[in-house]
Structure formats: structure tokens, C-alpha cells
């Protein structure tokens, strides 16, 4: 059933973001030809070109900003409207366990956040007319390239860092979800959700302080850098798992669609 839920959550995401992502990439491409990059200095620039470049750049960065605002709104709204609002009358009466409803929303939220970062990166690549031949002949990139292939486990490091980013995003998303699951228990849902989020943020800070004091990552790092990275990942995973279980439990036993 989880795959079926994911299918509908991803379809909803695609309806929302396909246009924004496309607009971002197209505007980056437009800016590539309107912005006066260094290589164009010998080209004659007309009096209107500066204004055009300014406007297209403004629109491009506006779309980038709008995309990240849309991601935040999407993450909050898909959970709040989808499970605690009117759409909740459909989703919460489907014959699926509550944890699958939460997991489906979570996977979709983490995916849309990472996809938006990737689109931003691609847009930057499209925006700047990079001559890849020159880039890779630069000393820094030559060293980086050699370093990457000199270290057989470089890709493993990259994978571990990606896992850390995904877990960090999941933790933040689950903090928002748990805050909303707590907020729905009260009559002033939104206010109480904000209060709950502030409380969870304080708890997260205390948890970070505690782990820093215990110096667990440093201790494990002595055994090897990979062990240290996986320890750090486990320390993000632990509160994320607690928040996931708490959110699922609240929606299963204390759901309140008044």
C-alpha cells in the first residue's frame, strides 16, 4: 500500500513543481544569453541590454526564491491539508496503517527538497557559460579529480554525505510533522503547532549539546572517518525515528478531525 500512497503523493508533487522546476531551468538558460559574462566583454552591449539583463536576472532569482518558499509550503500543506484538513477525510479512511501515510508524506517531502536543490545546481550550470575544458585544466580541479580517483573510497564519502543531507532534511520535516500532530490535539491548532515546533527545536538543541559534550562522533572517528560519519548519521537518525514514531502514534490514537 505504501507504493500506492507514494504514487499519489508524487503525482501531487509533480503537479505542483513541474512548472516551477521547468521555469527555473528555462530562465537560467535565458539569463545565460542576457547577462554580460566576462567572455562577452568584447561584444557590443546596447543601451537596453543592461535593463534586460537586470530584469531577467531578477526574474530568475525570484523564481529560485519562490521555489524554496514553495517547497516549505508544500511540505507543510501536504501534511496539514492532506492528513489533518478536509483531504484527511479521504486519506485517514483509506485501509492503510497510519505510519504508511506519514512515511509517504515524508519520502515525498525529502525528495522534493533534494530535487529542488539539484534543479538549483543545474540552473546555475546552465546560467554560467562554463568552458569545461578550461575548468578541468585548472590546478584546483586537477588536484580534486586526482584526489577523488586517488582515494578508492571517495564515492563512499560522497554517499555518506548524501545520506547525512537526506537524514537532516528528514529530521527537520519530521519536527514540522510532529509539531502539527501535537497542534491538532488543541482547538487552536496552528498556534499550538507553532508552540510545539519551538518546544521541539529547544529539545533538538539540547540533544545536540548533549551529543557534543559526550564527544561520541570524535570517539568513533578514532576508529576511522567512515565510522565517524555513520555515527553522525545514526545520531540524526535516532531523533528522526523517535519523531516519526511519535507522529504516527498521535495520528493513530489521537487523531482529531473535528
Amino acid at each position: 500500500m505504501l507504493w500506492k500512497l507514494l504514487k499519489y503523493d508524487f503525482r501531487s508533487m509533480w503537479k505542483t513543481f513541474s512548472l516551477v522546476w521547468a521555469a527555473c531551468l528555462v530562465l537560467a538558460l535565458v539569463n545565460r544569453f542576457t547577462l554580460p559574462f566576462e567572455e562577452k566583454t568584447n561584444v557590443t552591449i546596447g543601451p537596453g541590454d543592461g535593463i534586460l539583463a537586470f530584469i531577467t536576472a531578477l526574474v530568475f532569482f525570484g523564481v529560485l526564491f519562490a521555489m524554496f518558499v514553495a517547497v516549505m509550503i508544500f511540505v507543510i500543506q501536504r501534511f496539514y491539508k492532506g492528513l489533518l484538513g478536509n483531504e484527511g477525510y479521504l486519506m485517514n479512511t483509506l485501509p492503510v496503517p497510519t505510519w504508511q501515510l506519514v512515511l509517504s508524506k515524508l519520502v515525498c517531502a525529502v525528495f522534493v527538497s533534494i530535487a529542488s536543490m539539484v534543479i538549483t545546481f543545474l540552473a546555475c550550470l546552465l546560467l554560467v557559460p562554463i568552458q569545461w575544458g578550461k575548468v578541468f585544466s585548472m590546478a584546483f580541479f586537477m588536484e580534486l579529480w586526482e584526489g577523488l580517483f586517488g582515494q578508492p573510497d571517495a564515492l563512499l564519502y560522497l554517499f555518506e554525505m548524501c545520506v547525512m543531507v537526506a537524514l537532516g532534511l528528514a529530521l527537520l520535516t519530521l519536527m514540522v510533522y510532529l509539531a502539527m500532530a501535537i497542534g491538532q490535539l488543541f482547538s487552536h491548532r496552528i498556534v499550538m503547532s507553532v508552540v510545539a515546533f519551538i518546544g521541539l527545536d529547544i529539545l533538538a538543541t539540547l540533544y545536540l549539546d548533549l551529543t557534543n559534550e559526550l564527544e561520541l562522533v570524535e570517539m568513533i572517528s578514532n576508529l576511522g572517518q567512515h565510522a565517524g560519519l555513520w555515527m553522525a548519521n545514526a545520531m540524526i537518525l535516532l531523533p528522526a525515528a523517535v519523531m516519526f514514531l511519535a507522529t504516527s502514534w498521535l495520528l493513530k490514537t489521537r487523531l482529531n478531525l473535528e
Partner: protein, 244 residues
């Protein structure tokens, strides 16, 4: 499979300090059309939401087909809420796909046939549909299932008398006769003719659960007349306009 589709004992629900249901004991068998009757605020919607698992009881026990409320009972129930639950980007066919994916008893072809007979274009986007058409789509979703228990919350509220007959006819010609239908309403005269049993709720308490034939035989009057009699003594603010 249990003989009792619905079984509640001492079922209570309070919103904060305000009780919405108090100690309700109710059993509903199979193959019955049951009217859940009472004025606004009597606890009809609360009882239906408890059966669907959308809210949790404060006290008492509740079972559907002998099972506690959960994914297994949700698979047995076809629920028509008192509000629209669509996502605006969807088309009716998207909803049919969703129901086919999650409910084994959903009949896709029947849903399309019902759309045709109700004059609904299933490829239209939900957000472009009128309120009445959206209600029809929701009714199609509910009645195209061969469910064990249909929970219909105020299906005829807010529509004109001709549309009420139309909706009732759709329900009666499409429900699974091996299952039961629980219809909540305060418009008793319109549905009395189709009911097998009547459940009266008053201020969150069950005051009567009887077959319609028994009510007519024993009381010598219609369910509507008995309803008016029972709720006439209530303060004005608690009653629908027609009671006085």
C-alpha cells in the same frame, strides 16, 4: 464475518469539556438501512466519525464486523462525509484510480456508468465542477463500492427536494444488499420510506433504536411524527425550524 456490523458499548466522546456522545449502546446487523436521526448537535456526525476512525472515543468500546477500528474495518466501510475531500488538481478519474488501488470492492466500470447516468464528465477537473457535481462525484465514489457498511453523513442536506429523491434513488439502487447503510439526517420525512430501522439521538444520548415497522405499529404514527414529538419539548435553539 460477524452478524453485528456495528457494536458499541458505553461509547462516549467529549470535545474538551463538552460531551458529544454519552454512553451509547448500539448494535446494527446486516442487510439493514438504518436512519441515524436527531437534530443538529445531537451526535450523529460524531458517531459516524468514530466508526471511521477520524476521531477517538473518550470512553467505551466500538467494533465494526467484530473488529476494532483500524485498516481492516476501513476496508469494509464506504464513507460519505459532510464535506468535500478532494485535492483540487484531481479529476474524477484520478479519484476512481485511487479508489481502485485501495479498495478491492470498488467497481470502476460501475463508477463510470453512474457518472454517465448522473451527467458527470469524469475527465473534468474537480476544481472546475459545481458544488452539486462534486457532491455527485463523491456519491459515485461511495456507491460504486460493494462495501459491508455505508456511512452516509447528511447525504440529502442542503439540496432541493427533487435532488433528494435523486440521491436516495442512487443510494437504493447501488448499495450492497448484504451490507448495511447508516444514513444520518434530520430530514426524516424524505428518507422514512426507505428505512428499516431508526436510531434517535438526543443531546448525545441514544433515546430510541427500533424497526420502522415496530414504530408504526406500536406508536400508530410515522417516524417523522414520533421524531417531532420527541424533540418538540426541546429548547428552540436545539431544534430545526420545522419542529414548531
Amino acid at each position: 464475518m460477524s452478524d453485528k456490523l456495528i457494536a458499541c458499548q458505553g461509547l462516549s466522546k467529549a470535545y474538551g469539556r463538552k460531551p458529544a456522545l454519552s454512553g451509547v449502546d448500539l448494535e446494527v446487523g446486516r442487510g439493514r438501512i438504518v436512519g441515524l436521526l436527531g437534530p443538529n448537535g445531537s451526535g450523529k456526525t460524531t458517531l459516524i466519525k468514530l466508526l471511521c476512525g477520524l476521531i477517538q472515543p473518550t470512553a467505551g468500546t466500538l467494533a465494526v464486523d467484530g473488529l476494532p477500528i483500524g485498516p481492516e474495518t476501513k476496508a469494509l466501510i464506504s464513507y460519505l462525509p459532510d464535506r468535500m475531500y478532494f485535492a483540487s488538481w484531481m479529476r474524477a478519474t484520478d479519484l476512481f484510480d485511487l479508489f481502485r488501488d485501495f479498495y478491492r470492492d470498488f467497481d470502476y466500470d460501475k463508477a463510470l456508468a453512474m457518472c454517465r447516468s448522473l451527467g458527470v464528465e469524469p475527465r473534468d477537473r474537480i476544481k472546475t465542477m459545481s458544488k452539486g457535481t462534486k457532491e455527485k462525484v463523491q456519491l459515485v465514489l461511495v456507491m460504486a463500492r460493494k462495501a459491508q457498511l455505508y456511512l452516509l453523513d447528511e447525504p440529502i442536506a442542503g439540496v432541493d427536494p427533487a435532488a433528494r429523491d435523486f440521491i436516495l434513488r442512487t443510494i437504493l439502487t447501488n448499495y450492497n444488499e448484504e451490507g448495511s447503510v447508516l444514513i444520518s439526517t434530520h430530514l426524516i420525512a424524505d428518507i422514512e420510506k426507505v428505512l428499516d430501522e431508526a436510531v434517535f439521538l438526543k443531546e448525545g444520548k441514544l433515546v430510541l433504536h427500533e424497526t420502522v415497522d415496530n414504530i408504526r405499529e406500536r406508536e400508530g404514527r410515522s417516524v417523522d411524527a414520533l421524531f417531532r414529538e420527541i424533540f418538540r419539548a426541546q429548547p428552540m435553539g436545539d431544534l430545526e425550524g420545522g419542529a414548531f
